[in-house]
Amino acid sequence: MSLTQKSEIIQAENLAAGYQGNVVWQNASFSIDRGEFVAIIGPNGAGKTTLFRMLLGLQPPVGGQVKIFGQLPSKGNPKIGYVPQRHSVDSEMTIESLELVRLGFSGKRWGFGLFSQKNADRKAALEALQAVWAEELAQRPLGVLSGGELQRVFLAEALVSNPEVLLLDEPLSNLDIRREKELLQLVNNIVRSRKVTALLIAHNINPILPYLDKVIYIANGKVATGRPDEVITSERLSALYGVHIEVLHDSRGNIAIIGVEDYHPDSE
């Protein structure tokens, strides 16, 4: 079996996603290796988050199968760090960042934890915050943090348990171009230095392109995967969407995809 290959972290075969018999996308076959930085691109409602939910064991596939670490996904896998898409944090949320990151480490444990491990989780949380260049945010309330600061704290919350795979759902959605770049450099740094595999859902591929090993493009109920220069082509995307699509490149390597209404190329 091909699963014996050690560097393969995620494998999908004829995978289909959906809810209660409604198929959102199908026939996806791909594999992701250890230490790869992968973007999942596609329009709203294409089923990008559904892929994450399947990998987290929160939702079964409606067809085919997906394996992670050579096994069918199951809930609560400590080797996966997850940053869900969060629309906002209550501005009255006064809890400091460190407390949230600590819960990422010890929130699963029952009991009050008054006597046990008190310093272990604090230490782990501080290290995780340092790893995302956010130690100065430790004592600040979540409610006053900016979008970019919040994403770094959430990333620390996911990293605190030392995961091998990071699932990041739209971490760039509320960031300006500069913060976007900062966060991507940070994620790339973690991927390369720790050999962590990162899957990142995004709307716009341009800011991520310089870092990517692979892209999973989900649209029109179908999935195309491969290296970015293989997938983001006029031929592949036209086949995916079923209408004529033109992929244009500018002098700085940015891509414009013409013919998809809800796709807005970066106008940096």
Binding site: L58, I95, L100, L103, S106, G107, K108, W133
Partner: protein, 298 residues
């Protein structure tokens, strides 16, 4: 009886005099338990943004309390039954159900109507309805105190057991779920905690004023601290101070205890919101400026 009692500047002597009366002793005992429990559970209510659900539970409890009075048992049993069933239903309807204000509102209006029917069928109409709606802590019996204490201990033990998972799922439900936490079960446990807390708190402040102990102290405390355990301790202190001083004042003044309690917690809230916060916001501005200098990439 109360007319020959006068306030003395020696508070210790005052308390000694107060505790000679069984009803005052019971009121302080039950009030203390309720204040501690409401202060703790209230923090999770505020954190989960479930204050409307807590409010709804107390109104659902009104029908139960009225029904219990009608069939001749202590209202607290009707409260426990109705709030537990109501809370479990709300929690099992799903994670977003707690925010379905319209549906909750529709059901609670119906149950309030049912409560009105029960009360009208009962001949002792006015006083019973009044004490369920606004609390009657001075009428608490010794057996009610024991029941309150037992319920309070159960809540404390339950919270000690689920503290971290409950905190985690309240603060970050999606991540907690992905980590394999039983978020639905934790939601049910939370609602049951609120149900029991509401049932015993109704004796003190009544169905209509439940917010004063279940929400205001925690919402005030949240503005004063950044760590959950500290927030909970401050919340408990506020509700204890309000309950104790409310009882103390009511010994000398012929007005309802629940009025004093609601007014004192509100005063705390106003002070923290407007006077204290002004100092706090200056400090956090400074933090923002300092942090802004460090956020650039190394």
């Amino acid at each position: 009886m109360r007319h020959d009692i006068n306030f003395d500047i020696n508070i210790f002597a005052d308390l000694q005099q107060m505790f000679q009366y069984g009803f005052m002793q019971h009121a302080f005992e039950a009030g203390t338990v309720v204040a501690i429990i409401a202060g703790i559970v209230g923090y999770f209510v505020v954190l989960r943004r479930s204050s409307f659900a807590a409010h709804a539970l107390s109104h659902i409890g009104f029908a139960g309390a009225a029904g219990a009075v009608l069939i001749g048992v202590s209202p607290v049993f009707g409260l426990l039954l109705f709030t537990s069933v109501g809370g479990t239903t709300m929690a099992t309807l799903g994670r977003r159900a707690a925010h379905r204000d319209v549906h909750i509102g529709i059901v609670l209006a119906f149950l309030l109507g049912l409560g009105v029917l029960f009360i009208s069928l009962y001949t002792g109409y006015a006083t019973e309805a009044y004490s369920i709606l606004f609390g009657e802590i001075l009428g608490i019996s010794a057996s009610d105190v024991v029941l309150t204490l037992v319920a309070g201990l159960i809540i404390l033990c339950a919270i000690a057991a689920v503290y971290r998972p409950l905190l985690f799922s309240s603060l970050d439900e999606d991540v907690a779920e992905a980590k394999g936490m039983p978020v639905l079960l934790l939601g049910v446990i939370f609602m049951l905690l609120v149900a029991v807390a509401v049932s015993i708190a109704v004796q003190v402040v009544g169905v209509l004023l439940i917010f004063s102990l279940m929400v205001t102290p925690a919402a005030t405390a949240q503005r004063l601290a950044r760590r959950p355990q500290r927030i909970i301790i401050i919340s408990v202190i506020i509700s204890l101070l309000a309950t104790w001083s409310g009882l103390f004042i009511s010994f000398y003044e012929p007005y309802p205890v629940s009025f004093f309690i609601t007014t004192i917690v509100f005063a705390f809230y106003l002070f923290v919101r407007f006077a204290y916060q002004r100092i706090g916001s200056k400090e956090s501005d400074r933090h923002v400026k300092e942090a802004g200098q460090h956020t650039s990439l190394p």
